[in-house]
Amino acid sequence: MRRNILLLLLLVAVCCLVAVGQSARPASQTQPVAASSFDSAVKPFLAKNCYGCHNEKLSSGSLDLTQFKTSASIAAHRDRWDLILRRVKSGEMPPAAMPRPNETELRAATKWMEGEFDRVDALAKPDPGRVTARRLNRAEYNYTVKDLLGVDFRPADDFPQDDTGYGFDTIGDVLSLSVVQMEKYLSAAESVARTAVYGPQVSKPTMARYQPAGRRRPGDFDNLFFNTHPWLSVNDYDESGLSMPNSFHVMHLFPVTAEYVIRATPDNGSRPPGSEALEMAAFVDGKVVGTTTVDGQLEGKTQEFRTKITAGEHWIAVGFPRQFEGLPLLYGAKNPSKRPAPPPRGRRGGFNGAPGGGAGRGGAGNGGALPGAGPNLTGAPGGGTPLTGPPGQPNPQSAALTGAPPGDPGLTGPPGAGRAGRGGAGGANAGAANNNDDAASNVFFTPAGAPPGTRLARPDNMGIQSLEIGGPHNPEVHPSADSLKKVAICDIRIAGCDRKILTNLARLAYRRPVTKEDVDPLMAQIARVKQRGDSPEEQLVVGIEALLVSPSFLFRVEKDRAPKSTPASRVAAKPEAAEPSADAHYLSDFELASRLSYFLWSSMPDDELLRVATQGTLRRPEVLNAQVRRMLKDPKMSRFVENFGGQWLQFRGLESHQPDFYLYPAFDNYLRISMVRETEMFFENLIREDRNILEFLDADYTFANEYLGQYYGLRDVKGPEFRKVSLATTPRRGILGQASMLTISSYGNRTSVVLRGKWVLENLLNAPPPPPPANVPDLEQTKIGVDATLRQKMESHRANAVCASCHSKMDPIGFGLENFDATGNWREKDGKSPINAVGTLPDGRTFNGPVELSKVLRTESNAFAQCLTEKVMIYALGRGLEPYDRLALKKITTGVAANQYRFSSLVLEIVKSLPFQMRRGERAKI
C-alpha cells in the first residue's frame, strides 16, 4: 500500500518533468527528492532492464549490478555509477537490440541518481587536492628563459620528450628528472647564460637539408596540378608562386642574425619546349629575398640565394613566380613565349619530362606537332600563320613526321587521354590514360578551348627536390636587445652592479622575493670566478648558470602550510558550503601568481604580476580579476594556444603525422603548416575577442591563407596572408571542419570513423569510450571503397550488441564526417562509392553531414563546457581530476554557462575555484 502511494507521488513528480526536453543534459538540482529512493526508483528499474545481462553469472562488461544493494553503494562506486548514468541517459544502454525501458521509469531512475550524486558531492568536505612539485617542461623552459633573459634559441628542444599524463605534459607526478634530463638542464644553463651575456654561441656553419615527403612519379596521371588542385588554371593561379603546389615551405630556426645561403634544387622536370626561362624565387616570411632563372632542363640546377636573416624561427619558401607565363602560345596563358619552337624530334620521349609523343599530339591551329611547335611542321590548316589558326584535328601526318607508331591509339583515340587539364575538353577519362606511351611523363595538358585530344607537355612540370639552408656566415654576435634590457640593468664594471643584476634575476627566476640568503651564494660564485682572473662578463655568466640549475628555478614547489592559514589577502567572494578539510590551506600569493602565469603564459610571472603578489593584493577579487583579464589580453596567450590547444586538439601531433604522399598529393608541408596555423588563429581569436567557447562546435568562420582557403573551396581567398574567412557557403563548421582535426583523427592512408568518433567523444564531449577488447580482427583496408564502403565494413560493429554498446556512439559521428578525407579535403566519393554521411546516435537523433552534426553537437553545450573545463583544469593544475573535484567543476561550468560561455569566464571561474586557490597539505612522513 505504502509502495503504491510512493509510486503515485513519484508519478506526479515525474509528470512535471515530462515537459522538460529530451536533451541529455544532467540536471543540477540539489534537493533530494523525498518521494523516490534507491529502492523505489532505481533498483526496480535495474532489475527490469539491466539485471538480465549485468548479473552475477553473466556479468556483461564486467558489471554485476545485483551487488549494488543500497544507495550507499553509489558513493562507494561513484565512477561506475557515473558511467551507468551516462550510458542509460544517452540511450546506449540497454543495447539497441533489447527492449527500450519505460520512459517514465527511466527518468525517475536517472533523476534520482543525479540527485544522489549532487547530495553526496555537497556533503563531502571540499578537498582542493594537491599537486606534486613539478619541474619545468620543455615548452615552459623555453619560454621562461626567453622571458627571463631574452634568449630565444629554444634550448629545450634538445631535451628528452616530456612524459604525458591524462593527455598533457604538465602533470607533476609524471614529469620525472632523469640524469640525462639534468645533464641537459646543465648544458642548457651554460648556453643560455652565455647567449644572454655574449650573444648567440655559434660554431662552424652547418647545412640543414629538407626534402618534400615524396616525389611525383612520372606515370602518375593524377598529379597534374589542375587535377590535384582544381582551383588552378593557367590563367588563374597565385602568381607569387607561394601558394602553388610546387613551392616548398619549411619553418627553420636560425640561431643568430647572419647571412644564410638558401640552396634550392629543382627536381626532375622541365618546361615545355619553347618556353622562356623560368624564374625561381626564395622567400623569407613571405617576402622575396632573391630570384634566379633556370632554363630548359631543370634537374640538378641548384639555385643559391644569399640573404641576411635575423635570429629566430622563420618561414622559408622557394617557389616559381608567374610560372604559367612565358609558355608557348598554345597554352593560352599570359605573356606567351617569344622564343621559336624547337624542331620536332624523331624519336619518342625526346624531351626530358615532356611526353615524347608531344609531337603529333594536340590539334591546335598549327597542327600541334609540338607544343608551341608552330606552323613549320605539319602543314596544318592555316599553316604559315603560327599560332592563331583555329584548333584543328590531330594530324596524322604530323604523327608520321615525329615517328609516332602507326595506330597509336593515343593519337586518334578518345579525348582525355592522359587526363589532360581541367580547362580542356579532355576532361577526366581515366581509362584512356592507359594508352600513353613510355614517355618520361604520361601526363598531358589540354588548354581551355582546344579541340579534344589536344595534348601538350604539362606546364607544371617543375618542383623542388631539396632545400638546404646553410650558415651562419658573418654572424652578428652580440646579446639581443631583449637580453640587454633584461640582464644589463646597470653597468657591470661599477661596483655592486653584479649583485643588483643577480638579485633582480633571482627574484624573477625563483618567482618570489629573494633575501641575502638567496643572493649571497650566487655572489660567491662570482667571487670564485673573479679570483681566477676571469672578466666581469664571465663572472656574470657563471652566476646566471647557477641560477638556472637551482631547484627553485627548475621546480615549481608549493609549500605545505598550517591548515587554513590565510595569506596576506583573502578571497572574499565564494563562501564554501562546508569548511575545507583540515589539511587544506591557501596558496601563497606567489604560488598563486606562478600558477597563473604558467597556466596562461607557460612562463614565469611578469614584473607586474610579481609586484601585485609582493604587495599582497593578488587575492582581492577586483585585483585578481583585473590581472587575469590583463593576462588574457597579452600576446603571450599564444603560448596557451600552442601548448594547451596543441595537446587538447592534438594538432601538435601533426609535426610527425605523415599522410601517404601518393594518395594525398595536396598534403605538402605548406598545407601542414597552414592547417596548424588556422587552428591556432581560430583559438587565439576566440580568446582575444572573448568569444563563446561553443564556437568550437559550430563556428561558421575560420582563418585561412590562399592555399588553405582554396583547399576549402573558397575561391576568393588570395594571397599568402592569413585572414578571417566565412565558411557559410561551405559544409565546414567549427573545429570539425578544420583540416588539422580531420587529419590528426585519420590514418595516413584512409579515414577512420572510429578514430574520429573517439576523438570527438574524448576531446569535445567528455565521454571517452573504453579501450577495445583484445583480439579484435584487423580491418581489411585494401578493399574499402572497392567492394564495400567503409560503412558496410563497419556493420559488424552493429551486429554484435557488445560492440555496439560503444560503437553506436563513435561510428555515427565518424560517418557524419566521412565527406572529409584523411587530409580534410571534401569528397563526394570514397573510391567508387558515394559517401553516405548519415549518422544516428543511440538516443535516436540523426544528422546528415557535418553541418547537421555540428548542430547536434551544439546542443551538448553542457557536455562540451564540462569537457573543456576538465581539460583546462588538468593542464592548469598539473594533476588529474578526482571525485572530490566534482563540486568545483560543477560550480565552474554553471558559472561559465551563466556568462554566455565566454572564454574569459572559463578562465576566471577556474582561477577562483577551490582547487586552484588552495591545496591540501601532506602530513610530513619522516
Binding site: 628528452p160 599524463g165 632523469s178 619549411v250 648558470e545 610527425s656 610530513a924
Partner: protein
C-alpha cells in the same frame, strides 16, 4: 667555408621532411681511448639489451630443430655469421605483460615489464609504478667504473599528443629502462645528444684550460644546487620530496662524472672533428648511426651497459624503403593472413640485419685476448611474440656473446617450461659480476647455457 656536417633543428617538422647527414668517421676516435682494465684477470663483461617492437612473424623466427645445428630461419639468417656466438632461446615469457585483470594495454605493459619483470600499475598519470630494470641494476653495480653509467638509445621518438595505450601513462611506453619503481629512465633519440653524452659537447674542441675551468664551474654550481635543495627538503611533503630526490640523485651523479673526468684528464680531439649533428631521415641510416654509437661506447669503454630500442612498442613506423608501406603496428595484427605475415617478416629481417652490422663491428674489435663480442652478453628480442594476439609467451629472444667465457653459445635451447625473461637477466647479471637476489618475477637463472 661550409662544413659538410648537417644540422637539424628539432622544432622543425621531422617526419615529413628529409634530412640527411654525413655519417662521421667514428672509428677514428677509438685509438684515442685506453683499453679497459681487466676485472679479476678477465676482460669486463658488457651487457646489452636490444628491443624490437610488435612481436615477430614467429614462423620465420623459431627454428624447427634445436641444439647445435638449429635451423637457420629467414629472420635468423641475418645472424648467420654469428651462429656460433649466439643462443636462440625458446619458451621465454614476460608474464607480467599480460593483463592480469587490468584490461587492455598490452603494448604499454610490454614496454614497462620487459626489462623489469614487474606488472606496471595501470594509471594514466599519477603514481606510475613498475620496478627497477635489469640494465639499471647492472649500472648500479658496475656503472661507477665507466664515464657513463649506462646508455639508453632509441630509434623512435615518443608520441607527442594524446593518451598512450589504453589508460596507461605514456611513461610506460616511452622508457624500457627504469631506475626505480617510479623513475623512468627515458632513452636518447638524437645521435648528437648521445655523442655529446659520451664524449662531451661543444667543449670537446675547446682548449684544455678552458675545459677545465668549465668543469670546475659545473661542479661548483651543482654543489650549490645540492645545498639549496637540502634547505627546501624540510618544507616538503613526502611526494614532493621524492621528486627532489630524483633531482639530487641526478645532480650527484653528474658531479661524480665530472670528478672522474677531471681525474682522468680530457681527451684531445682536433677542432675539425665531425660529429653527428642530427637525426638522419632514412630509418636505416638512423638505426645504423645509433648502433654505431653503441658500438663506439663499448669500444671506448665509455659504458658497459647499453639499452637499444629499435622501435617503440606499438610502433606505427612504415618501411616503404623495403617495400612495406603499412604501419608496423596495424601490420602486426596480421590475422594470420599470409601477405601480412610476409611483410611483417620483412620488417623483422630488416631489423635483424641492422643489428647484425652492430655485431660485426663488435666481432671485429680486438678486446683482450679475443674480440669485443666475446666479452659481451647481448640480448635481442621482443616482449611480444605473436602480436596479433598480444602474446607475451614464447618470445623471440636471442643472446649474443660469450660473457665471461663460461658459456657455450651456438645453440637453440627451447626450454621445457615457460621461463621468465628475468631468469635470463639473472644469468646475465651474474655473468657480469653483478650481485642480485632477484629481479621482478625471476625464479632463478636460465639453464644449459654453460653446458654443451
Amino acid at each position: 667555408m661550409i662544413n659538410t656536417g648537417k644540422h637539424l633543428s628539432r622544432r622543425t617538422l621531422l617526419r615529413g621532411l628529409g634530412v640527411s647527414i654525413a655519417l662521421p668517421m667514428l672509428d677514428s676516435m677509438v685509438p684515442a681511448f685506453a683499453a679497459p682494465a681487466r676485472v679479476n684477470g678477465a676482460m669486463p663483461v658488457r651487457l646489452g639489451f636490444t628491443y624490437v617492437p610488435n612481436g615477430m612473424c614467429m614462423a620465420d623466427w623459431t627454428p624447427k630443430t634445436s641444439g647445435k645445428d638449429f635451423e637457420i630461419t629467414p629472420i635468423l639468417k641475418q645472424f648467420e655469421p654469428f651462429k656460433n656466438d649466439m643462443f636462440v632461446l625458446g619458451n621465454m615469457q614476460d608474464h607480467n605483460g599480460n593483463a592480469l585483470g587490468d584490461g587492455g594495454g598490452d603494448h604499454a605493459r610490454a614496454g614497462g615489464s620487459f626489462l623489469t619483470g614487474v606488472h606496471p600499475k595501470k594509471t594514466s598519470g599519477k603514481d606510475i609504478q613498475v620496478g627497477i630494470s635489469v640494465d639499471q641494476i647492472a649500472a648500479n653495480a658496475i656503472g661507477a667504473t665507466t664515464k657513463v653509467r649506462s646508455l639508453e638509445l632509441s630509434c623512435e621518438d615518443s608520441r607527442t599528443v594524446g593518451n598512450c595505450d589504453s589508460g596507461y601513462s605514456c611513461a610506460y611506453s616511452n622508457s624500457f629502462s627504469w631506475r626505480g619503481p617510479s623513475t623512468p629512465n627515458p632513452p636518447e633519440t638524437n645521435p648528437r645528444a648521445v655523442f655529446e653524452r659520451l664524449f662531451g659537447g661543444d667543449d670537446i674542441t675547446l682548449p684544455p684550460e678552458v675545459r677545465a675551468k668549465r668543469m670546475a664551474d659545473r661542479r661548483s654550481i651543482l654543489d650549490l644546487a645540492q645545498e639549496q635543495t637540502q634547505k627546501i627538503l624540510g618544507t616538503l611533503g613526502s611526494t614532493d620530496r621524492r621528486k627532489m630526490d630524483e633531482y639530487l640523485t641526478a645532480v650527484r651523479e653528474i658531479e661524480s662524472k665530472i670528478q672522474r673526468a677531471e681525474k682522468e684528464g680530457v681527451v684531445e680531439v682536433s677542432p675539425d672533428f665531425e660529429r653527428p649533428t642530427g637525426v638522419p631521415f632514412a630509418y636505416a641510416d638512423y638505426a645504423k648511426l645509433m648502433l654505431d654509437l653503441a658500438a663506439l661506447a663499448f669500444q671506448t669503454d665509455s659504458t658497459r651497459v647499453v639499452t637499444i630500442v629499435l622501435g617503440r612498442e606499438g610502433s606505427l613506423r612504415t618501411y616503404p624503403e623495403i617495400g612495406v608501406p603499412d604501419g608496423h603496428h596495424p601490420l602486426s595484427h596480421h590475422g594470420n593472413r599470409p601477405e601480412s605475415l610476409a611483410k611483417l617478416s620483412i620488417i623483422n629481417q630488416f631489423h635483424a640485419g641492422l643489428y647484425a652490422q652492430f655485431l660485426a663491428k663488435l666481432k671485429a674489435t680486438p678486446d683482450g685476448d679475443g674480440t669485443l663480442l666475446d666479452h659481451c652478453l647481448l640480448m635481442y628480442g621482443s616482449g611480444l611474440s605473436d602480436s596479433n594476439r598480444h602474446l607475451h609467451e614464447n618470445l623471440p629472444i636471442a643472446l649474443f656473446g660469450r660473457g665471461d667465457g663460461n658459456i657455450k653459445p651456438g645453440r637453440f635451447i627451447p626450454y621445457e617450461k615457460p621461463t621468465p625473461m628475468t631468469n635470463l637477466y639473472m644469468t646475465m647479471l651474474t655473468t657480469a659480476g653483478v650481485k642480485a637476489e632477484t629481479i621482478g618475477d625471476s625464479t632463478g637463472k636460465v639453464e644449459h647455457l654453460a653446458e654443451v
